[in-house]
Amino acid sequence: MSESATPPPAAPSTRTAAASPAGPASPAGPASPAAPATPALTPTEGAESGQDQSEVFRGVSESAGPAGGPEAAAGPGAAAGSSTVGRGTVKGIATRSVPAFVAGDELADLADADLRIVVMTADLASANRLADFAARHPGRFFDLGIAEKNMITAAAGLASTGLIPFVGTFASFAALLGFEQIRTDCAYPGMPVRILAHHSGMSLGYYGTSHHALEDLAAMRAVADLTVACAADGNQLRAMLRASLAVPGAVYLRLGRGRDPEVYPSVPADFAFGRSVRLREGADATIIATGSQVHPALAAADLLAAEDCRVRVVDMHTIKPLDANAVLAAASETGCVVTVEEHSVIGGLGSAVAEVLVDHRVAVPFRRHGIADEYVLIGPPAALYAHYRLDPVGIAAVVKEARAELG
């Protein structure tokens, strides 16, 4: 086995520029939430250029401005509308810009029938669209302010009274800042807290390492009595939220940046934690992907199919408990396994799959594809994905490298 995270030798600046025709990010960037928000790109534009991260704090910046802010003059791709949420002080952002952030909407629907559901966030109700829940169930929504540790532990306290709290914040702050609270206060006492860890991986792009979570799966996977899963898109997230209601202990749900392109055309009815999904059949190799990397993995399989290489694609949405049978079947039936994740190659999906293979003495060409043991460059998300070969072209190249070992 070998790591494939290190990009081919090329000057970072060259690769970044090549991957991002629009040029480097505006130096103004996200540093000033109070700066006038630029019009939101449509999801497709944003996903392709990767330049626009303005959705993250848009709601906050608008709340600081006068009423009838930028979204009032809705241009192409701009906010489709706004809603006043919470206590009427924070304006929502356009749901169109973060179509995969369906948790607020889905939980509001579920909460109509399930009185146990409460929702909490740490000053990110607009960014993560949990404001959609607040608007419909204000008495069961709590914004704890920028105090993630208190929020996670308080969620555990809420859970101890019979409720099911869903707690949303950036993955970096949920899993890394709040690690001990998740371990000691949620998982260890068996509290049914659901952590919605959004903007995971390096999806916050040029916000930089403080806002990246490339270690969260490694940390969360080591916690006993914790279910760990990654949503590939909004429809799968809805299925996960529904299924989570029956999980007795704590759950860590890893979400992307809300613009994740659609993998599942509808909410998968047969979703179950711990049961992976074979999205594409093929006999020449298997890509096992999770979360944000499922969609590019499918696109990589398309590229490879054009070269007559038929690749199985498995959505390993649940990192813990891992679907070991799917791993072993991939190895025995396709003879080559590549894991793909927006995470460090240490401790995440790749490590989990490697453990299964080694435990069963299975030796096949294998690549753990992800981010090497390093901090990633500054750059907009799409440029970073291309640079670190987590885009379709890069993933396809890694598969070909692995298959080359077959001789």
Binding site: V118, G139, R140, F142, L144, G145, A147, K149, N150, T153, A154, A155, A156, G157, L158, A159, S160, T161, G162, L163, P165, E180, Q181, T184, D185, Y188, P189, G190
Partner: protein
């Protein structure tokens, strides 16, 4: 309550405080060491809570409307276990295996293993956040229980505590009662030398809390502070700052840094036991 009845009640509570101290000695001997002094400072507070104040029913440990108690200073669990056993939450004989391999009873309380523990604790600075969540849970469900959280003074240096203090007043959690066991010492020395916590009254008040400060070994004062609590509901959260003496009741342990965790030899054990028994009759 008549004066005589009140006196009887105080005598009964003093007896239970002695019971807590004696059981702490016994369990620490089983384990080979124990948090004597942190438990001795809280003995009267624990006795007053469990034998007088808390709305609980040991026959229904999961009663949704029961008052909650969170021992944020989880290292005093050695004094809480005997109380729960005494009240009938579990067989007191189980405590004979305290800290032994596979025992439900460790140095810090585990709610999944011990009936009557409302929340697991041990990592300092977390308990008040748990209490905030419990109080919010009561509000969401329209229940009128109170949530009592006992924190040590040393753990007030944890930042998360102040997040919780801020949130409690923001959400107007009048059902939340924080009790500070102000026993003056943390492990490395007096709190005011290691990391100053005073003026506690002013700090809590500045965060929007209703503050009462009492002698935490004066059972009459403790009950009076409980009687003075505002009814649970929307309102200022309430804190009882209980000035106590770490190691209270055993002269060699009082305000002595060496007894945060300690172990008594056989001779000392009997001497300390005798001192506690004698002190209780003074």
């Amino acid at each position: 309550m008549t004066r005589q009845a009140a006196a009887t009640d105080l005598g009964r509570l003093a007896d239970r405080a002695l019971f807590i101290r004696l059981e702490t000695l016994r369990l620490a001997r089983i384990a080979g060491a124990g948090h004597y002094s942190s438990t001795f400072s809280a003995a009267e507070l624990l006795a007053a809570l469990y034998y007088h104040q808390l709305r609980i029913d040991p026959a229904r440990p999961d009663w949704p409307d029961r008052d909650r108690f969170v021992l944020s200073k989880g290292h005093a669990a050695i004094g809480l276990y005997p109380v729960l056993a005494d009240l009938g939450y579990f067989d007191p004989a189980l405590l004979d295996g305290y800290t032994r391999l596979g025992s439900p009873f460790g140095d810090h309380p585990d709610m999944r293993k011990i009936t009557g523990i409302d929340f697991s604790s041990g990592s300092l600075g977390h308990g008040l956040s748990v209490g905030v969540g419990m109080a919010l849970g009561g509000r969401v469900q329209g229940r009128d229980f109170r949530v009592y959280v006992m924190v040590g003074d040393g753990e007030l240096a944890e930042g998360q505590i102040w997040e919780a203090i801020m949130a409690a007043s923001h959400f107007r959690l009048g059902s939340l009662v924080c009790i500070v066991d102000r026993n003056q010492l943390c492990i490395d020395g007096p709190t005011e030398q290691v990391m100053a916590v005073e003026p506690l009254d002013q700090r809590f008040a500045a965060f929007g809390w209703r503050v009462t400060r009492i002698d935490g070994h004066d059972l009459g004062a403790i009950l009076a502070a409980f009687d003075d609590l505002a009814p649970p509901g929307r309102g200022a959260p309430q804190v009882i700052v209980a000035d106590t003496i770490k190691g209270k009741g055993v002269r060699r342990m009082e305000l002595d840094l060496n007894w945060h965790v300690g172990n008594l030899g056989p001779d000392d054990y009997e001497a300390v036991r005798a001192e506690l028994m004698e002190g209780s009759h003074r």
